[in-house]
């Protein structure tokens, strides 16, 4: 049972990590166009790098 002392904090930490990632995607507007994003993957024009916000 001592393993719980490690496992519980670890699971909470991982959960919090996920929550943080969710907040980040939310702030970056990644849910603004779910349908378009799903289709864009079929696009055949490739960019060399991701587009930056200020471009």
């Amino acid at each position: 049972m001592e393993v719980l002392a490690i496992l519980i904090p670890v699971s909470l930490f991982l959960g919090l990590l996920g929550l943080g990632a969710f907040f980040w995607t939310l702030r970056k507007g990644q849910y603004d166009d779910p349908e378009g994003d799903a289709r864009r993957i079929l696009n055949t024009d490739y960019d060399d790098r991701p587009k930056r916000d200020d471009e």
Partner: protein, 724 residues
């Protein structure tokens, strides 16, 4: 020919009235276009590349979910250019007013809710891991530790994620009302409190995971509700084009642009060709033709000369007019129409939705049932406070309307998403339910079942040189018939002939010289041709005369929508302000059984009210200013995106594309959705009927509560997704 002279559904109707009214594009600002027909990955890249190739466009990004494109461009680029570019590559586009403020506002609220959902979801899953251990048999110190950790996660989460419910409940209580959020807030607070108490007392049961689950599912319902509403509202706001009511006042030989409110009776106002008449008045100078179809539904332009009376809202077509104001502002006919709309809208009975009715019946039962359980158990157990409170809390959390909170929003989201994909935007939250009750559909003819734009139908009857001269002449005029002719001729790949001395004679036509002989395009009498039975434009080449006749193109989908609605057993009416032969011909062509011609705006509304007095529920589909009163008088109303601002504002749904066929789909989908909503209510009722007795007798454990809550929420959502 019908309704020839509707001005094109311009990107910015206000611009015609007030050229200075478009400061939006000043500093290379963002342009927003609505693209009702995009649907695939190919569309995205075609549109983005097409826009990027347009000179002056810095970047363009398509949002497929909202069917919009946002464009960052130089100030010189106007939305009208981009719309033309997109039209060239086969996509229909409309300009949206970048109502940036309201959009960020709704976005902020939506993100706020999403954030709370995320927090509730995170806490729910973590607490669930611990709870499973407890349900699996963790005992004594381990159980207490797990409960304690759960409490540490759950209490701040409920305090943060539950805020929308607490706020709403408090607001309702202050107004001395009880809404659905009252019992929800009570359940959240009481359950957390009692669970904390049990934890500290090393008790067996703590309901932390149930509380979090309740918060999570309710927030999801709340978010879906918010999104459906915000999407419709922001789009409707943005569809409303800029229309700053301004007029050009002539005083002391100079023209100044003034707001209409500043005009007084007796002022002289200049109305340019193509502009809307801003006030009621009398023509003192100039000759032109006036399109009054928006006010009266008359299709033929009326010739005006000094002495003629004009009404606000009419459109000046060919020549500049000077108008002496006889009535402005409140007294003008445009304003009287707006007053009629307001009156009709307030008369529209306040509609109570299914959700409202369910909440009103259900909200008081939750605390009452729980209180009842507490009192009865106090009596049975002979004053065992802890047991009674525990049972009361279990009842509270079981009855809490988790599935009920999802029942309506899940269906509405599924339905509005489906309708949006078909090109229909719901502007009003209750429209879907009202639409489901409709048994009579009233169509306007002009601009609704027809495109409102004339199309020449006898081009083949003329020799090519005549067509090329006609093209040269027609391109020199902004008269709708001339424009239609030019577009059709260009579409045939013809090049204009060399015509010199092009001059427009306002109210008559265009003239010029071709190969040394005078040529004219315009009215029959002026050109020297004999007047044919249908409306047309006439061309004279020296001695020869040619007549071009026009028909109003049927809106795509008009035949399908009529057939589909008749198959659904609806009664159809065609109500138009146009003359009887044109209306009869249209009714006959589309096989609409009932029709009425020459209806004035108030008569249209009265007709609809008479139908409703007989117990019919009427759907009005219309687009003109003469339809607005009827649109707001009807039980529910739809207008095309090309409709006038006022008509769109008065209607509950907006048809985004050119095709009118989605109207029939909308009726079908609305009926299915109301059926789904009812089923969902029955489902959540059934779940309560099973679990409430279990809670009341005191057998309900946190495991039961968690199971019941998740199963009911999931079945309700799945049922909503069945919507086809």
């Amino acid at each position: 020919m019908t309704e020839a002279l509707r001005p094109p559904p311009s990107a910015c109707p206000g611009c015609a009235v007030a050229p200075a009214a478009a400061p939006v594009e000043d500093k290379g600002a963002r342009l927003l276009l609505s693209l009702p027909t995009i649907h695939c990955a190919g569309c995205i890249s075609t549109v983005e590349k097409g826009l990027a190739r347009h000179p002056g466009v810095r970047s363009a990004r398509v949002n497929l979910t909202l069917k919009r494109a946002s464009i960052d461009a130089e100030p010189t680029v106007s939305a009208a250019d981009l719309i033309a570019t997109l039209d060239g590559i086969g996509y229909e586009a409309h300009e949206l007013d970048p109502g940036v403020l309201s959009q960020t506002e709704t976005d902020r609220q939506g993100r706020d809710l999403l954030m709370r959902i995320g927090v509730a979801g995170f806490a729910m899953m973590n607490v669930m891991i611990l709870s499973i251990a407890v349900w699996a048999g963790a005992e004594d110190a381990t159980r207490d530790l797990f409960h304690l950790i759960s409490a540490v996660i759950a209490i701040p989460t409920v305090a943060f994620a539950g805020q929308p419910f607490f706020r709403s409940a408090l607001k309702a209580l202050r107004a001395r009302r009880l809404n659905m959020d009252g019992p929800i807030a009570l359940a959240l607070i009481l359950t957390v409190a009692i669970s904390l108490f049990e934890t500290l007392q090393s008790g067996q049961h703590a309901y932390f995971e149930a509380v979090l689950m309740l918060t999570f599912f309710l927030l999801v319902g709340r978010y879906l509700d918010h999104r459906a509403r915000a999407l419709a509202r922001s789009a409707a706001q943005e569809l409303a084009a800029l229309e700053v009511p301004r007029a050009l006042r002539i005083a002391g030989g100079t023209q100044t642009e003034v707001p209409i409110a500043q005009l007084a009776v007796g002022d002289l106002v200049l109305v340019r060709p193509g502009a809307r008449v801003p006030v009621d008045g009398e023509v003192t100078e100039g000759r032109s033709e006036i399109d009054r179809s928006l006010l009266t539904g008359e299709t033929l332009p009326v010739v005006t000369a000094p002495g003629a009376q004009l009404s606000a809202g009419e459109v000046n077509l060919t020549g500049p007019l000077t108008v002496r104001v006889t009535a402005a502002g409140r007294d003008s006919s445009l304003h009287r129409m707006a007053d009629l709309v307001a009156a009709a809208e307030s008369a529209r009975t306040r509609y109570t939705t299914l959700a409202d009715r369910a909440a009103r019946a259900y909200a008081p039962t939750i605390p009452l049932l729980s209180l009842g359980a507490f009192v009865v158990w106090m009596w049975i157990s002979g004053g065992d406070l802890r047991l009674s409170v525990n049972i009361a809390v279990a009842t509270l959390i079981i009855t809490c309307p988790c599935a009920l909170g999802l029942a309506v929003p899940a269906v509405v989201t599924a339905a509005s998403g489906r309708l949006f994909r078909k090109g229909l935007l719901i502007k009003d939250g209750t429209a879907l339910e009202r639409l489901a009750e409709v048994d009579t559909v009233v169509f306007d003819k002009t601009g609704t079942l027809t495109m409102g734009t004339p199309v020449p139908d006898n081009l083949d009857a003329h020799p090519e040189p005549a067509l090329r001269v006609a093209l040269a002449l027609s391109e020199a005029s902004s008269h709708p018939l001339a424009r239609a002719l030019a577009t059709a001729l260009r579409a045939r790949g013809l090049a204009p002939a060399q015509v010199d001395d092009l001059r427009e004679a306002p109210g008559y036509g265009v003239q010029g010289t071709w190969q040394g002989q005078p040529v004219k395009l315009g009215r029959a009498g002026w050109v020297g041709a004999t007047h044919a039975a249908t409306t047309g434009a006439y061309l004279s080449l020296g001695e020869d005369t040619h007549s071009f006749t026009f028909t109003d193109a049927l809106r795509p989908g008009a035949e399908e929508v009529v057939a589909a609605l008749q198959a659904q057993g609806k009664t159809l009416w065609l109500l138009s302000g146009d003359v009887a032969p044109a209306v009869e011909a249209m009714a006959h062509r589309l096989n609409i059984p009932h029709h009425r011609a020459g209806a004035l705006p108030t008569e249209k509304a009265a007709h609809i009210e008479a139908l409703q007095a007989q117990g019919h529920k009427v759907l009005m589909v219309g687009d003109g200013l003469n339809d607005t009163v009827a649109l707001s008088a009807a039980h529910v109303s739809i207008s095309p995106a090309s409709a006038l601002d006022a008509a769109r504002a008065a209607s509950d749904m907006v048809l985004l594309g050119r095709d009118i066929a989605p109207v029939a789909d909308a009726l079908r989908i609305s009926q299915t959705s109301v059926r789904r909503i009812r089923e969902n209510f029955w489902q959540s009722g059934l779940y309560n009927a099973v679990f409430v007795p279990i809670a009341l007798v005191g057998w309900c454990t946190p495991l039961w509560a968690a199971l019941a809550m998740s199963i009911s929420s999931i079945t309700v959502s799945l049922n909503a997704l069945r919507l086809k």
